[in-house]
Symmetry: C2
Subunit: 348 residues, 2 copies
Amino acid sequence: MPSLKDVARLAGVSTSTVSRAMNGNIPVSEETRRRVEQAVQDINYKPNLVARGLRIKSTKLLGLVVPEMQNETFISFIRFTEEAAEAKGYNLIIGSTNSDPDREERFIENLIRRNIDGIIFSRVSDKSHVLKILEKTTIPVVIIDRRLEREDIPSVVMDNYASGKMAAEHLLSLGHRHFACITGPLDIAINRDRLAGFKETVVASGAFLEDKCIFEGNFKFESGEKGIAYLLDTGARFTALWAQNDYMAMGILNYLSRHGIPVPEAISLVGLDNIQQSWMMRPALTTIAQPFRDMCREAVDIIIKRPHEDKKEKIRVTLEPELIVRETTAKPSDKSFAVEPISKVGYF
Amino acid sequence: MPSLKDVARLAGVSTSTVSRAMNGNIPVSEETRRRVEQAVQDINYKPNLVARGLRIKSTKLLGLVVPEMQNETFISFIRFTEEAAEAKGYNLIIGSTNSDPDREERFIENLIRRNIDGIIFSRVSDKSHVLKILEKTTIPVVIIDRRLEREDIPSVVMDNYASGKMAAEHLLSLGHRHFACITGPLDIAINRDRLAGFKETVVASGAFLEDKCIFEGNFKFESGEKGIAYLLDTGARFTALWAQNDYMAMGILNYLSRHGIPVPEAISLVGLDNIQQSWMMRPALTTIAQPFRDMCREAVDIIIKRPHEDKKEKIRVTLEPELIVRETTAKPSDKSFAVEPISKVGYF
DNA sequence: ATGAAAGCGCTAACAA
DNA sequence: TTGTTAGCGCTTTCAT
């Protein structure tokens, strides 16, 4: 591997001149610039980023922390963060914590020891102890997909309230009057925001979302199955259902299919996230797409610009969701209220 | 950030002693070891990996190159490689190339400049020009999920022939006699291996896999739809179908569902990969799981042990697939041959 | 505009 | 067993 020294020798100048010629910010005569460029070409010199990193204390490396990699949401974060980072000349180190505090801590410490330029966190809670670790460092941090109580850490989220509103409005416009919702964990702020947007829009229009028509799930496929079984079993009456993520919607669809309840004829269903499966399914899922690509780009930008060195400025970027209408929503039909509690009737 | 110097000053020893005490390989007196450890605790010292990397020319960093992140296969590579790397104390830099040679080259060069300890490639072809770049370096490389002609680069693959055999045997044991196959791109060796395993097993048993029952797809959902449409349209007669990956199987299932052809009653279907969707679907897909976790662990091990510095030794690890029986395969039934060319009859 | 020299934080000869 | 010293490859004062 050729080094700066080799280039310098070949070009007949000092290493500092080569360095300046390459980085461009400091004036260098045309003549030497050409000589240096030639030498660089000749020996195919590539600056060593480790050495530069040590010297200037910037590694052009970003860290991304995700809790797991089974859920397509986190895959999207990885994908789009890598994309945004690469566009800005950064590389990405990823770490999956499996929600294990030890792994999480190990990973963060590694990133710090590596003199990384910034860390993007997905899904951290206010009480996560890694936030404490990070407070001791000067490494820029940004939280993605969570709305934290504390405001000293920049965050990027979708407008979750708007997503609930959007789901409700779509269903309302189709003529539905009786609504149900299977939510994510309600100890998490963004899920409460989603529900609020949904409920307030439904209620404001004079339609109904009874309390017994709300089931708190955990974003997993099984949770969708469980939620719909619960709703049907307790005799909740509704023609329109919103699942706060697509995995649960998949579970719902699967359950309804097994029990012969037709979608959208009996129940209209809207999801959230727009995962791949949502269009590969039959019927294809009507859902709401999160602006993941933009969220990740924003997160990377925030880190690179490091404006939050100035802690007074609160940074909270909010991006808009988008409705994607497919096959699981329709006007409420005669069949709709034919759905009876599962324990009472055996379907079909 | 405290440095070695700070620890040394506090412990009243030289920096080299601290270094030795921390790395443990060189003898240090009990007394000093304790003093050093104390000092390390006191100021919460963490070695700077950039400096160490520059010095010892090993960064404890691995690079993983994937063509894209939409396909669950590559997600699995990321997931399990990160897992294996973390278990060995390495971090992972990932790069997605979108099959763009420029991006690929940029990423590889970055990795080299970062003095990375090894690169894991998924899906490189023999003619990929990055292999040329890598030849000039001493960085250990391993290819995953591809069988290259050249043997100087270590690779880790599933036993693809066995997967074909396994699909055929399962279907054969159910009583099927007429087979079809929708393959991946056949310019790629592993897909030919899969087909050979399938075909040879079918033929050896005296059953049939006619040429017109083989469709060459491209591993995408749409390709599955196209393939099954083609097979049905040309009047190919079969009761058992193998798709060489699950995305195509999803497309097939979706198409058959739209055309009212029941699975597994009319056609038994086997996939390959065991993606998440395969069990979320209804009917759940019978498929073959690739040993991705083990493949990634092997790949990481090969790099870490660096035994291929010695180029004479050819490294090619092959791991076994596993059959996962679910709902899309059954005995051939009376309905089976009721399937007529689509252009002739409108189904149901 | 250019060069000499120092130093980022660490490890490894070498000497003691 | 320990300290001194040099140096990994780069950038950046400080002179000139």
